[in-house]
Symmetry: C2
Subunit: 174 residues, 2 copies
Amino acid sequence: MKREASGRAVLLRPRADAADEVQVDLGPLTDGIGYMLRRAQLASFKNFQQVFGPVGITPAQYSVLLIIELNPGLRQTQVSDALGIKRANFVGLIDVLEKRGLAQRIPAVDRRSYALHLTEQGRKFLKPLRELNDAHEAQLAAALGKDGRAALVSALTAIASMETVSGPATDDDA
Amino acid sequence: MKREASGRAVLLRPRADAADEVQVDLGPLTDGIGYMLRRAQLASFKNFQQVFGPVGITPAQYSVLLIIELNPGLRQTQVSDALGIKRANFVGLIDVLEKRGLAQRIPAVDRRSYALHLTEQGRKFLKPLRELNDAHEAQLAAALGKDGRAALVSALTAIASMETVSGPATDDDA
């Protein structure tokens, strides 16, 4: 993204088809918190995928594995709620982790729900991923100036904690 | 989100089912840029929906209307690329705006693509939305301290502009 002399931001997209190269006036969007949160989140997601490469897991799958390891035995809804993942999407996500032999659903005492656990393979799989995630976070931090990391996390936490009428946000809302 | 004396963050989710109330240890996630970007983005999205209420448009639809007004005649791929919206999702998004009589597709000169324009109704519809978006942005800014807004937008822009091997991020990557 570049800024013109006018201060208005434009996004240049070099493409194979030269006719598609065009300067698009994004107007006030690039000075808005809402729009830039989304763009930054997409860039972060892309960086995560590049760093994790052939491991082939998504940020959501990584967070679920981490939370199951830290809180073994939680019910599915407890994990999806804590992470802000839509319940409807969460079942498919666990299916994938179960098929890869990383996590397992064990019927809960009340038999109406499932408790989540990592498998032994899942624990081994997760261990080196922490270093990959550290590398991903370091690359994000490197894009910010000195002290920029702590200030950004603090600002994001303030927004994530905003009081809303109907409780914390999940991707049910997205 | 609260922080325990240990400094570890927990998320409390009050629910109708009291048995679901549980403190989940989110470990290092809540101190990570990647995870907190997503949580902040979800909270921002939710706030947008609350402020826009019965208008019933999404942040993506709003950004598309704004960009078409600022750049009339752009092709669909040019708008989706500039906004980082997955091309496959973009067609459905334009369908919705066209059905509501807000935007229209006009065959481009080369007849192989469509140029996007707002309708007269679309221009009238968009005008008051700028104020709603200002209110949404003001609520996000209010969650931050003094000077917090400019610093956050600057940090998000730095991350959104990160160099990646395969070009800028779009939600093709999400």
